[in-house]
Symmetry: C2
Subunit: 388 residues, 2 copies
């Protein structure tokens, strides 16, 4: 159920020696075609890593032949030397695969502000190329892990109007930037459906907008976040934009939930659903403001259904609502009604890992959900260790 | 050095019984004139507490005769009954002091979403009125404490153009919203200078903009934050707007620093100074984005001079800068130069409690500083305890 489940792809994951632990740290995903169509979305952080700058250019013509990813170093804030290292990595991949460097997409994840050890990266690329196989997806999923506790993958199988089967597979790493060293979210998606680059771009943006963009672990934005989607067309299936988009959104949603569920130090997975909003943007703004309240997140860690902290976060937004018409439910208990005291908060059970907060703005019929985590001792611990 | 240092004021702090601990929890500050001029600033949270709604009306005519403050309950999100309780408290103060209820300013702090125990508040008002004295300021400073570990006060002494001496005194409570139950910042400032309400309003807004507004402990905004300034005119001094404003800003800055220094659970006081910015707004935006990065704050707790987390926060703003021209120094060591690796980060000493982060945008000549704290285990602990 990874990037090699769709036909037309090979992958590998090897140990290049970037991680002190000796665990796999370099992955390669190759599209054998016949199509090489691709699309990608990147972090909107203006301080973007060298591989982000490089890969933006690579994908700009809608073609990607291979993706090389390393953990153990973000190659961010590394100046011209860092960009040169990304370039050299792409050149090396191009050479061993006999393709053009301008079709090699590069991703990096790890500590910001350190140069990559190219004496380990370049031999690693050779080893990865030699290890490429049509069932190498799981090894690639493992090699991109940083503080992830488990590799993350997802798969969707669909059919086009003619009954031809196609697959969309994905691997992901990261913990919504919850992990040490500002762990980046990297996602590689593959499909054997025949979809041109233009449509890939449209459906990828639509899918990420309502999935990865709504997983907000700690409000921090990485310098390296990247989601790339490759189409081999090897199935011959030509699904409609709707059918393909629905499948892609399902894969992205599953990966996003797995990222949040594996967030460093979290003890609760929290869905914050705002409904009866005047607009979807309002609903997202309100949910995100609550997701970013440290006071709210610490309360959930303490199993305290502190709806006052929800309302105080809602009150900082410019969404359409009247303060005396806000309703808040937590795990099904209506603890705030019309901006004031509702049902007994003692009825709220916060023992389960899953928490659902529902905010009723009474201002319209739009809704949106943001997924986040609680703020725990382990979060502070994981993110305060020296030289992480 | 409190609110009773300036002439023309009496104050008291008593135990009304709102706090389970039996500590003082009700304060009264009375302006005996001859002037009763006043101004105030309030939280911009749209979910504002009942006393905020009440006191906004009270001060709208520029006159306040007395301020009553309770700890042990925020009276926020308490509906019409909550507003009635604020009204009753003001009526009680008016009755015992023989003044108008519409000149009684009310402040509350404590847990959101609980009704105040009026059977304790009303006798508490009587006791406070009976205890009023010209040296009662320290008792008032103590009675407004919630999770504060020490009472906070400040004093400025100046002279007008004729050599007449005037004083500005202040008391404050709160920990920049770092404390359990969303501890509010409440500040009462008094002066015996003769300043009319209009000028009080102008200088108070100017002073709070560059002091309290730039103390950002955890990015959360309270439902109750209030700063009120009373002038008795009892000194006869008539300082210029500049002289009075400078003194007021000094008092506010001292109180703001004391709030940050006493923030719950903090182990580092962090000043984030952004300079060479295209505008003061840009500088403030950049400093605040870093102050609100949990990853950065956890790194400082871990004594890790992680400048990558500074840059990644800066990169989320729309301030004018080029990513490859950013410089960052931490406690005097230039660890990031032109967006890339600078001096050895091992040279940065983060053992001291005071941390200075300096961000050079190389985009102009404006600057601003935001004061914040690190993110610690104690923060999580303090804010996750049940029913806090």
């Amino acid at each position: 159920m990874t990037v090699t489940a769709p036909r037309g792809f090979r992958a590998a994951g090897v140990t290049a020696g970037l991680k002190a632990s000796g665990k796999p740290d370099l992955a390669l995903v190759v599209n054998d075609g016949p199509s090489k169509a691709a699309a990608a979305v990147f972090t909107s952080n203006r301080v973007a890593a060298a591989p982000v700058h490089w890969s933006r250019q690579v994908v700009s013509d809608g073609r990607v032949d291979a993706v090389v990813l390393n953990s153990g170093g973000a190659n961010a804030c590394t100046g011209p030397a860092g960009f040169q290292n990304t370039h050299s990595t792409a050149e090396k991949v191009a050479k061993v695969l006999d393709i053009s460097a301008t079709d090699v997409f590069v991703c990096s994840t790890g500590l910001i502000g350190e140069q990559l050890p190219m004496d380990k990266i370049l031999p690693g690329v050779e080893a990865a190329a030699a290890a490429l196989s049509a069932d190498g997806g799981p090894e690639a999923a493992t090699a991109i892990m940083t503080t992830d506790s488990v590799p993350k993958a997802a798969l969707f199988i669909g059919t086009d109007a003619d009954g031809e089967e196609f697959a969309i597979g994905g691997i992901a790493k990261g913990a919504g930037m919850l992990a040490p060293g500002l762990a980046t979210m990297l996602v590689v998606l593959t499909t054997d459906a025949a979809v041109d680059a233009e449509l890939l771009d449209v459906v990828l943006r639509d899918a990420t907008r309502v999935t990865f963009d709504r997983a907000d672990s700690d409000g921090c934005m990485s310098t390296n976040d990247t989601v790339v989607l490759l189409s081999s067309g090897a199935s011959g299936a030509v699904p409609s934009a709707e059918a393909f988009g629905a499948g892609l959104t399902q894969v992205c949603a599953e990966l996003a939930r797995k990222l949040i569920a594996d967030a460093e130090g979290a003890s609760h997975d929290i869905a914050i659903r705002t409904f009866n909003a005047a607009s979807e943007a309002d609903a997202e703004t309100v949910s995100r403001s609550v997701a970013r309240s440290n006071l709210f997140k610490a309360a959930i860690f303490g199993k305290d259904p502190n709806w006052g902290r929800v309302l105080s976060a809602v009150g900082t937004t410019d969404a359409v609502f009247e303060p005396d018409q806000l309703n808040v439910a937590m795990n099904g208990v209506q603890i705030c009604r019309n901006g004031s005291i509702g049902d007994d908060r003692g009825l709220v059970d916060l023992e389960p890992r899953e928490v659902l907060v529902e905010i009723d703005l009474q201002a319209g019929d739009a809704e949106a959900t943001i997924w986040t985590n609680d703020l725990t001792h382990d979060y502070v611990h994981e993110n305060s260790a020296y030289s992480s």
